[in-house]
Symmetry: D2
Subunit: 332 residues, 4 copies
Amino acid sequence: MLGVALLGSGRMAHVYGPKINAHPGLRLVTVFNPNLASAENAAALYGGTASADLDVVLGDPSVDAVVIASPTNTHVEYVEAFAKSGKPIYCEKPLDQTLERVDRALACLRAHPVPFMLGFNRRFDPDNAALQRAVRAGEIGSVNMLMSWSREPAPPPIDYVRASGGYFLDATIHDIDLLCWIAGERPVEVFATGSCVFDPEIGAEGDVDLTMTVLKMPSGALVHVNNSRACAYGFDQRLEAFGTKGMLQTENHRDDNLVRWDGQKTVARETLKHFFLERYDASFYHALDEFQAAIQEGRPPSVTEEDGRTALAIALACDRSRREGVAVEPEY
Amino acid sequence: MLGVALLGSGRMAHVYGPKINAHPGLRLVTVFNPNLASAENAAALYGGTASADLDVVLGDPSVDAVVIASPTNTHVEYVEAFAKSGKPIYCEKPLDQTLERVDRALACLRAHPVPFMLGFNRRFDPDNAALQRAVRAGEIGSVNMLMSWSREPAPPPIDYVRASGGYFLDATIHDIDLLCWIAGERPVEVFATGSCVFDPEIGAEGDVDLTMTVLKMPSGALVHVNNSRACAYGFDQRLEAFGTKGMLQTENHRDDNLVRWDGQKTVARETLKHFFLERYDASFYHALDEFQAAIQEGRPPSVTEEDGRTALAIALACDRSRREGVAVEPEY
Amino acid sequence: MLGVALLGSGRMAHVYGPKINAHPGLRLVTVFNPNLASAENAAALYGGTASADLDVVLGDPSVDAVVIASPTNTHVEYVEAFAKSGKPIYCEKPLDQTLERVDRALACLRAHPVPFMLGFNRRFDPDNAALQRAVRAGEIGSVNMLMSWSREPAPPPIDYVRASGGYFLDATIHDIDLLCWIAGERPVEVFATGSCVFDPEIGAEGDVDLTMTVLKMPSGALVHVNNSRACAYGFDQRLEAFGTKGMLQTENHRDDNLVRWDGQKTVARETLKHFFLERYDASFYHALDEFQAAIQEGRPPSVTEEDGRTALAIALACDRSRREGVAVEPEY
Amino acid sequence: MLGVALLGSGRMAHVYGPKINAHPGLRLVTVFNPNLASAENAAALYGGTASADLDVVLGDPSVDAVVIASPTNTHVEYVEAFAKSGKPIYCEKPLDQTLERVDRALACLRAHPVPFMLGFNRRFDPDNAALQRAVRAGEIGSVNMLMSWSREPAPPPIDYVRASGGYFLDATIHDIDLLCWIAGERPVEVFATGSCVFDPEIGAEGDVDLTMTVLKMPSGALVHVNNSRACAYGFDQRLEAFGTKGMLQTENHRDDNLVRWDGQKTVARETLKHFFLERYDASFYHALDEFQAAIQEGRPPSVTEEDGRTALAIALACDRSRREGVAVEPEY
């Protein structure tokens, strides 16, 4: 049973809190937030003590591992602190929005090698994972095309957009990580384009709310991602893998599985899961499970800090491609 | 090129007229109806002469074959006349509503053996035919269950119901013929039950508008048919065959194949084909094609007068079972 | 937090043990089995003490409720004992295989009214429950037909069959309970037929391994159930509800949701959930949750002992109808 | 009844011949090929005379219209000849592989305005047409994304590739025309990339056999096309239209519609239609029907020579983008 410190008590902390609780190998020891009242609120819900003093958490012998679910701009600092204290780290993605600070974290992790896992939770969605296993097992032969759809139900508040690092760093980075993981390679060239069609405020920030991205892989495989900040029919999340021997697709998840025939349009299905908290709920649990199992088994977790750097480098190249209208080679 | 006489100029004649025209091996020579004006109307649409004198048609050397699409109570008389004149006969189902008159026709056909085909058109629907071929080819091993759904969009006029011979003879007989043909055997026992839930006038006639039928086959296979005189979502026509090695299903046909995702219920499909004229349009052509090919190739057509007698005997047993509340052995 | 005694430590006890453990409002206090070693084995896995002395369990003040998962022929005796001791009872279905003994249990429960719930777990499957809610909410208007498919992957051992009370009491009873619950009424007449096509030993016992059942409801609605003791493609579990305004279907569950296109048959899907433990796993948890919630809220659980008697009376009528070849009116 | 001259007697002529024959408003008068034997062969199959002398065809008063199905490099010459002779022209796509020669044809058609239709047959596929109608009717609100899949079963012979003008001009041009027609606008920028993964001979010609293309529309809508010269599961042809109110998809067509459940992977479907002749068979008939109807009704056909020029300009921009690795603005 690993004692866990949870850093942060905002939205993502409320995702991880119940999963830490439900996991038979994890126990929530303490919730940290510089704002003590917020930490106390989360601790009251999920158990453990509350703390506003990081040094206390770092020095607490009952803390065996840390789950970082605080704002992005604090991730590198917390990773450094816990790496130096020798504690295993699970860090919500991204490590940071800049390669410079990510590289600082990577250097620290090389100097202080602790088990580290980045929270690319969508790899742990059962359908995505089944598709990746089937591809890696050669079920469709050599992979020639990969495609990902990620369309969100409604644009986020403009303050969220401002702090997000732009649409590619905020959202496309998930698709990029998934597709590189499935492909088993990373692109030599990216091209991305975008529009602002839903919320003019997003455009006024120089950002876009509708994108298409093309990645070219060393093997010749071609990759397509499309992202939209709005989607009338819910959270549309699909993958397609096309290979020399066949094709694989994942389907959207629905609130129920009834098939409905009525007097107008026949064979209607239930609405889609609303957004990522509903659609990927199980994946957060499975991600923590991988973290716990890796520590238990003395092996590195399957999503590394290098995976985070790679996805960031590609997302930054997409962003530059979109702004400059040229194909861009990512800086790995 | 076979010259064809079309008997009748009502609804079914307007189904067959255009198909005779479109078939490269058939030519419409004449349309017969005791009501000459009606015959002339059909002939104007589909070609050929019009006639109200059956003897003229029987004696016309350019008539190589006859398609009987007149009212049911005239079928036996016309079959006898054309059998005696030695002309191949295609007869819309049923031969008659009584076993006595059907047996009279069978006796005449034994005495005057001409190519004869009964118009169980649903066997010639491409999906039904593909299912039958797959079953007979052993794709699902031994057949253990067969199921048929036949739900009509709306109840027919009460005059139609009165002349129909009851729901089992009018409609279930189609499912019975299909399922016995697929099974390759005929039932040793039938049980049927029904209700009147849509149109009280149907109940007042002693008939039902909702039925379930169970057939037990000599092999032990069990068969289910359900029929409904109303269906909010169109003409629901499905088959299911369950065997020792697997299962086969046919799907309903739609007006288009678009998949529609909107803001409410996602993945809606187009409405179903409205009724039998739309759903089984192609099957009437394929049935005539079998008739023409059999004559051309000098072999008996694949749907025989005996098939018609068998289906009628089973439908009559269903009707008796429903009225008496007991399982009934059909009289073959 | 309710302290729970688990009676029995066989197959069904191993289904309930982990669910009691996982439920935040239930705590496993003791496992009872006259065979102490077997009770100890289950207690070692799921917690609590082991006991072979029923009086100790009945007198244990930390036991707030009992979950009866012992062999069917012990159910009535245990129900009586715990009713008299005033403890809430969850009893795996069926209460018993005879109406006489069921009536004995019902009389005792009337004399000693404790919260009682019968374990018709399939009502608590999320898809079945969604269909029932949609029907009861009038989404398809008046119900005219209900259909249930229940095909098991492979025949059970012959010893299981011998003790099962016959196929209708063992399996069809589940479909009967579901469909009466969805319909909101119980049949006035049943007809059932069956064959033995898979395992001749089952036939030698006078039982069948393939059945079709028809129920006629007071409203005129017609109900179809088909059951098979073998199914090449897994555990086939489907419902269909046909009403005046539309139709609802539930779909089978699969081991994953990938859509697979290969070089032969395109659009293949994953295999079905293997059998009831896999397919209905969640439903056992949801059933216990209803039991706990009803006790907590001081209301009767939603599946009553009367529901159990009704389903048994119908299953017995099916069995008689199959043996005698006549339609039978159930004895409620 | 329009008398039709069919130019060419190769593969595409054998597509159009039977459709001209089957159309009630068209009659095949003559088949032209400089190789008389080839023309005679086609005329023997589909009717009409054979001719190797174009002037005879041009001067034949029974020729009311021409269907050009000869090799691409003859299209402009034949268009000019028939425009000058005042005869309505149906020309198989493309008009030509160069903008220069297309502009020569357009100038001639402006000087000699005859009814002209370009054979973008895929617009006349019933599913594609239903999607376009739904989009133009506003069913999904404003269009934000359009996607097209076109994956061919196997690479063509290398001689075909050499004469094809490259993959974008040969194949992507179909998707481009469809998507611009659905969108109701044409791109301001295109980006295309490609690989050679199936046939190294194609790569040796400087061509590719796997492509992804992105078009950016003036409205901000983004368009994706993927093309593959090989596809293990048949001819994969799909469209997706994503708008502010919903989404529309077309599905692949299969050789039959049975749903097959077997002991391994459940719910298999039949193989896809093999290639464009099978998949789009009906569309060629519907295209000729539009040509005939437009002439009959005295209105211009719905696919114009300008549509052909637009699609060619975009395909050429794709080709340049792929070669140079930059986004390109098409030259309209």
